[in-house]
């Protein structure tokens, strides 16, 4: 059955064209209801006015964005200065997410390479093992991390018992603790796409490089890495983006000083101190930033793909 029939003039008419549109409806509905609509609602809320005990008043203005970028004094009557508080929180988020992404890459790449070079039969087992810790809820994993990293925790016990350090190595409530937390939260998102890319890699190319007098490091740098680059980029995006907006790791592991944009947004919707329009505005700014980064990466990718084919 081809889905077409030929009429008397010999013209084939597509009798299923109509049906095909209807079959796409669930996909469009899902996108619309679960992606576009929430973003649209958030966009509207970011322009509304704050209600005293959370919630909004339906009056449109730019107050939320103004509050994010400008400081007009306590009573809002002084000349506008740049408000650095939120911008620096934003900047710290980028920096923390970047560091976590780098850690994931440094650990995730060798892991992915290892799995991809195992005999074909055992590869699914390794992938399965990688995912096991992630069956546990993120909150519980992050809390456990807190116990691990404590001054009196197993990590410090271990280091001190082996005489590597004399006094506890202070990790908890530092940037490093947040980075470790983010790294551990999203590591599989780095490993899996890189694994998929390395698995597709034609290892004869590494042999060819060795045959042409390249040592192992040069082969990695000039042949393997360019070939699996799309997987590496995908992994970096998948770790970086959720890390940027994360609030569990910074809240539980970073303490009050290591606030990130995710925590800032979370605060605005929690309890009485909240400011819904401000939270929505911060979310929109985060979304825009991430979108810009993704577009830049996609452009770069498109050039790369164009070059390769």
């Amino acid at each position: 059955m081809t889905g077409g029939e030929t009429n008397d003039d010999g013209v084939t008419t597509d009798t299923y064209a109509e049906t095909r549109h209807w079959l796409l409806l669930p996909a469009w509905a899902t996108l619309g209801i679960f992606v576009l609509l929430p973003v649209f609602i958030m966009l509207i809320y970011s322009f509304l006015t704050k209600e005293f005990r959370g919630g909004v008043v339906w009056e449109f203005n730019l107050a939320a964005y103004d509050q994010f970028f400008f400081d007009r004094g306590l009573f809002g009557d002084e000349p506008a200065k740049i408000e650095w508080t939120y911008i620096s929180i934003f900047w710290r988020s980028i920096w923390q997410a970047g560091a976590a992404t780098l850690m994931s890459l440094l650990i995730g790449f060798p892991t992915a390479y290892f799995i991809a070079t195992q005999p074909e039969k055992s590869r699914p087992i390794w992938v399965f093992l990688i995912t096991i810790p992630y069956w546990v809820n993120l909150l519980i994993r992050t809390v456990s991390m807190k116990f691990l990293l404590r001054d009196e925790g197993p990590l410090n016990d271990f280091l001190m018992n082996f005489g590597l350090i004399d006094s506890p190595f202070h990790i908890i409530n530092t940037n490093l603790a947040v980075q470790l937390g983010l790294f551990y939260s999203y590591l599989p998102f780095m490993v899996l796409p890189i694994y998929a890319a390395v698995e597709r890699y034609n290892f004869t190319m590494s042999e060819a490089a060795a045959d042409l007098y390249a040592n192992k490091l040069t082969t990695l740098r000039r042949i393997l890495l360019p070939a699996v680059k799309p997987g590496v980029i995908a992994g970096c995006i998948l770790v970086f983006v959720p890390s940027m907006g994360s609030f569990l790791a910074p809240d539980l592991l970073g303490g009050a000083k290591n606030f990130m944009i995710g925590s800032l947004i979370e605060e605005q919707f929690k309890g009485n101190a909240g400011n819904w329009p401000f939270g929505a505005a911060a979310s929109m700014i985060l979304l825009t930033m991430v979108l810009i980064i993704l577009i830049l990466v996609a452009r770069h990718q498109a050039n790369y793909v164009k070059g390769a084919s």
């Binding site: 045959d211 042409l212 084919s309």
Partner: protein
């Protein structure tokens, strides 16, 4: 083949085992300088394993490999002045043709401009200069093949290894590339070791051939020698088309063996070492060395009946049934049709051969 020729590569008692499986059983062979040498055999015979051992991609379980007298078995591939043309080419997809070809030269220590100059030279040699700026994926299979060849030749290796490089090309292109490869070998003077399972390809290109099967060299010699004087049943059967006849040796006199075939036929052929009276062995007769007549020409003609004529372009193959005894295939060249008749199926004919056309085989 004079004994004074320089030996490019010497494999001495090389063994390759993968766990319990022995891929190569004590192989010893010498390949001369400036030679086009072919390892020929069916898949799984160990020819690629041997090539990969010479290239450094497989460890040698036992034995030694010498390259112009230097022991190389322990060196990694990037330390051997040997380059390979891989079966699937393994071109670097993110590099241009020129960058691909320059890669090896650069890795050997040349500056980038030097490497690219050399790469351009070699691309000229394989007639690909106008494609130097393209990516491999923008080339046809035949062009990719030449890039792989240029890339392997550019660093001026002492030895070029070719692992079934033509197998992905269509028949016509393969024929052209066979000749081109042969010319290239003569022009560059580099020793080529070529791996193939295609006996026709091996006969066309090689100075010498090593026929391999189940991890052993069955016969090593010049192409013509292997075709005309196969040593054993495997070689006779694998190289070219042949009539393999079961015989028993009845007598050997003055270098001639009298053989009895099934069905009471008798055939005389030159004796060979390793076959003595009473042996039940095989005998090979190439179909093109037989001819058909309707009258007996001498006492040894076999009488039979034509079953079928098969037109194969340049030749006609005639299948003949001897009634009792083996069937025969006789090949008649189309150009000889004037003086050699083609007999219709059902005709009674005699199969004749010159003395020496039949070859006794060691099993």
């Amino acid at each position: 083949m004079s004994e004074s020729r320089k030996i490019a590569i010497e494999v001495r008692d090389a063994v390759k085992r993968y766990g319990d499986f022995t891929a190569l059983k004590k192989i010893s062979l010498s390949i001369y300088d400036n030679e086009f040498f072919t390892l020929l055999g069916p898949s799984g015979c160990g020819k690629t394993t041997l090539l990969r051992m010479i290239g450094g991609f497989e460890d040698v379980t036992e034995g030694d490999i010498f390259l112009y007298g230097d022991e190389i078995a322990a060196l990694p591939p990037n330390k051997r002045p040997v380059n390979t043309v891989f079966q699937n080419y393994a071109l670097f997809p993110h590099m241009t043709v020129l960058e691909n070809v320059a890669f090896g030269v650069e890795m050997r220590g040349s500056s980038k401009p030097e490497a690219e100059t050399r790469a351009s030279e070699v691309l000229e040699l394989v007639q690909l200069s106008q494609f130097s700026g393209r990516k491999p994926s923008q080339l046809s299979g035949g062009q990719q093949q030449r890039v792989a060849l240029a890339r392997a030749l550019a660093p001026k290796p002492k030895l070029l290894l070719l692992d079934e490089p033509l197998s992905a090309l269509d028949r016509k292109l393969r024929k052209t590339m066979q000749l081109e490869l042969k010319h290239l070998q003569r022009e560059t003077g580099i020793t080529f070791i070529f791996v193939t399972h295609d006996q026709e390809e091996a006969l066309t290109m090689s100075d010498r051939i090593a026929v391999m099967s189940s991890g052993e060299v069955q016969q090593l010699g010049e192409a013509r020698d292997i075709y005309e004087r196969p040593h054993n049943k495997f070689v006779a059967d694998f190289i070219g088309e042949t009539n393999l006849l079961e015989i028993s040796v009845h007598a050997i006199n003055d270098g001639l063996a009298t053989c009895h075939l099934v069905g009471g036929h008798i055939l005389t052929c030159p004796a060979v070492d390793g076959v003595s009276v009473g042996n039940k062995v095989h005998l090979s007769v190439r179909p093109e060395r037989l001819f058909i007549t309707d009258q007996p020409t001498n006492a040894e003609g076999f009488k039979g009946k034509v079953l079928e004529n098969i037109f194969v372009g340049t030749d006609i193959s005639t299948l003949i049934d001897l009634g009792e005894g083996p069937g025969f295939t006789v090949r008649t060249s189309n150009s000889e049709r004037g003086n050699k008749r083609i007999f219709e199926p059902g005709s009674e004919v005699y199969i004749n051969m010159e003395l020496g056309a039949a070859r006794l085989l060691v099993d």
